[in-house]
């Protein structure tokens, strides 16, 4: 299924396992092996940051376009120090891409059907439509106080 990041289409060979298998998988890994976990979007970010500190990737399942829990979960993971890749898996739309990136999500995985309707250029354009919002390190609040 198509995998997008801020630059365009991408690939990622990180192997996804269940949370309780992560430790075993990591114990037996070879050089270059990367492991990640898949979690539902109602997962507790705080706990997750504690339980999966060694994960290279956390993939968050998004059941519906309008389910904004993924944004809070990603933001919480970042605040609690998770430094690996965060991926949103589900029917996000291009117009949510900028929000996803701002909340610390690196990758979005969507269906082939959706990618056919909403090809890459729409995603990249949507991410750039609004130059900056108020919050965030490069947001308007920060720019004003730097001026």
């Amino acid at each position: 299924m198509p995998l997008l990041d801020a630059k365009g289409l991408t690939t990622d060979t990180t192997e996804l396992v269940a949370l309780d298998e992560l430790e075993t998988a990591r114990d037996g890994r070879g050089p270059g092996d990367r492991f990640g976990v898949t979690v539902p979007c109602d997962a507790d970010g705080e706990e997750l940051a504690r339980q999966a500190p060694g994960a290279e990737l956390i993939a968050i399942e998004v059941p519906k376009t309008g389910d904004g829990r993924v944004f809070s979960l990603a933001a919480t993971l970042r605040e609690r120090g998770f430094g690996g890749t965060i991926r949103a898996v589900g029917p996000l739309i291009p117009d949510q891409f900028a929000f996803a990136l701002s909340c610390g999500i690196d990758q979005v995985e969507i269906s082939e059907e959706q990618f056919a309707r909403q090809p890459l250029d729409q995603w990249l354009a949507a991410a750039e439509t609004i130059t900056r919002t108020y919050v965030g390190p490069d947001g308007i609040f920060a720019r004003r106080s730097a001026a």
Binding site: G68, R69, E79, A98, T131, I140, R144
Partner: protein, 559 residues
């Protein structure tokens, strides 16, 4: 009032182009209707019974003359020559075409206006006391705080897809005129024992099908902590608010199901862990924004005004108007003048393009170019000299805006109801018009005194019927409109929800029932000073019940 800087301007402009692109992608099939819907809603665009409705934000209800003229122009060019002021200090156009909307948003951007987040499951436009900066009982003007929240919540990446809509209101006065306890978050500007100004934070109020009064989660929050604390509340809600049932998705249900104590504990825990990067922002921004809300230069003048007193004596219509539509101003010799957009027999809150231009002109000439939209669907000229009132009154008479009924029984709040709204189960506007006709005589209105009637055309309660002294809720029963009457609602400091008087009645029985209720009140009150709620609290609902019963029989007999 607040003026956009280059950043505010850029975000609004880019938002217009973004929406233009979204409309194009909807039309070429890139976006499905389901995908497009939240995008158009977050730009204030609804699909109603007959056409698209656009809800334009009037942030915290403050407007200047240039903005009002632009609203008039849009009404003429794209609508049917009028707009509708709403109970959330917005303006709605009811007859638009989808393809015109990007251009309309462009015209709004030209005067520093927009429709961002006036709908959708996001943080809606923030409302505030319509007498902000005017009222004598004010601790601090709430608008800088409201503007700070507007900026923070605009396209906030984490909170654009909440479980449900989210409304925030701010008041800085002792008397709560912004109904903060019936908002998702209500903010009261307060002073602590040390004399510092901060915020009391209420969460989980709301009307709708499950009316609830907000619970205090923080008695005193230092001002600079506001944005971070809001972040904590919104995050708890975004994560845990229900998404399985839209009728249980508001934060009031989460607060109710968890209990206020547990909810507060979760917010405080989240707040403790949060990276507090909003504190520096709040400090710098509140100071920057507050400059824009510095009061206009008003010189103290003689009060009372001889000129006005003489004119009142000579002109009974002016006398009546001055008695009801003038609100004390904190600067001597001035008043905040309430213009009733509730002419008898017309839809409450509707203003024609022509009337909007008159308002803009009057504001320019007499009120430092400023107007306010109230949640009572009226317009206020906030900084008027008492000496100028007679001249203004004359102009209002010509424009059909001189109804002397501010806060009186015909100053009715009503939602658009079944005449416009796809959700409505009954009509509201015609009911309001019928009641207004019953009480049309100004002398009778004056005798009755302050009494609020609020009408909703369905259980979603956009007409705020729960907090009307008399509330009317229009439902549908076996194919007929059926109206439930509640008594005792009050949106102010002692927020109270009205209680049902009895079984529902037919549409044509409503005006008579209201009249009987009012007659009962006049009979039972201990004097003209005793307001309806006081009488009701003293005598209870029982003496009012026969009014409803009698009317029901008449209605049945004539059916």
């Amino acid at each position: 009032m607040y003026r956009y800087d280059e950043f505010d301007e850029q975000i609004v402009r880019e938002r217009v182009e973004q929406f233009r692109g979204q409309v194009e992608r909807r039309l070429d099939g890139s976006l499905t209707e389901d995908e497009f819907k939240p995008l158009r809603l977050m730009n204030g665009l609804y699909l109603q019974l007959h056409a698209y409705m656009l809800r334009v934000a009037v942030p915290y209800g403050t407007l200047n003359s240039a903005q009002m003229r632009q609203l008039a122009l849009i009404a003429e060019r794209y609508d049917r020559g009028y707009g509708h002021f709403t109970t959330r200090q917005n303006l709605q156009y009811n007859w638009l075409k989808l393809v015109d909307v990007p251009d309309i948003l462009g015209l709004l951007a030209d005067v520093g206006m927009h429709a961002i987040q006036t709908s959708g499951n996001c943080i809606r436009n923030v409302t505030a006391d319509h007498f902000a900066g005017v009222a004598a009982d004010e601790i601090e003007d709430p608008r800088p705080t409201a503007e700070l929240i507007r900026q923070w919540s605009t396209l906030h990446p984490e909170f654009e897809y909440l479980p449900r809509k989210f409304k925030i209101a701010v008041t800085g006065a002792e008397e709560d005129r912004a109904a903060v306890s019936v908002h998702d978050i209500g903010i009261r500007i307060v002073r602590n024992e040390a004399g510092e100004v901060g915020y009391r934070i209420l969460v989980g109020g709301g009307l709708g099908r499950t009316p609830m009064v907000g619970k205090t989660v923080r008695d005193f929050l230092p001002r600079v902590e506001l944005l971070d604390y809001l972040q904590a509340i919104l995050r708890v809600y975004n994560r845990h608010g229900r998404r399985d049932n839209k009728y249980k998705a508001r934060i009031k249900i989460l607060v109710h199901e968890l209990g206020a104590a547990e909810f507060t504990a979760q917010v405080e825990e989240e707040y403790r862990q949060l990276e507090r990067d909003g504190i520096a922002v709040a400090e710098a921004e509140l100071a920057r924004i507050a400059q824009y809300f510095a009061p206009p230069p008003l010189d103290e003048r003689a009060e009372p005004s001889d000129l006005l007193a003489k004119a009142r004596e000579a002109d009974p219509a002016l006398e009546l108007f001055a008695r009801h539509n003038l609100v004390p101003h904190k600067v001597r010799g001035h008043t905040a003048l309430v213009l009733s957009v509730k002419p008898i027999g017309k839809p409450p809150g509707d203003a024609t393009a022509e009337q909007m231009r008159v308002l803009a002109d009057l504001a320019e000439q007499y009120s430092h170019g400023e107007m306010r939209i109230t949640h009572m669907q009226n317009v206020v000229l906030p900084h008027v000299r008492l000496d100028d009132v007679p001249a203004i009154h004359e102009r209002l008479l010509e424009a059909g805006l001189a109804e002397p009924n501010a806060a009186l029984i015909t100053d009715i709040i009503a939602c658009p109801g079944m005449d416009y709204c796809a959700l409505a189960t009954a009509r509201s506007i015609p009911i309001a018009e019928d009641i207004q006709r019953v009480f049309a005589d100004p002398a009778r209105q004056a005798e009755i005194g302050k009494l609020s009637i609020k009408i909703s055309g369905c259980i979603n309660a956009c007409g705020h019927h729960h907090v009307g002294n008399i509330g009317i809720l229009g439902l549908e029963r076996m194919g007929r409109e059926n109206y439930q009457i509640t008594l005792g609602g009050d949106p102010g400091n002692a927020t109270t929800l009205g209680e049902r008087l009895g079984p529902g009645i037919d549409a044509d029985a409503v005006p008579g029932a209201i009249e009987a209720i009012v007659d009962t009140y006049l009979e039972l009150r201990e004097g003209p000073e005793e307001q309806f709620l006081t009488t009701l609290a003293r005598v209870g609902h029982d003496p009012f019940k026969p009014a409803l019963e009698a009317k029901k029989e008449t209605a049945d007999a004539s059916a």
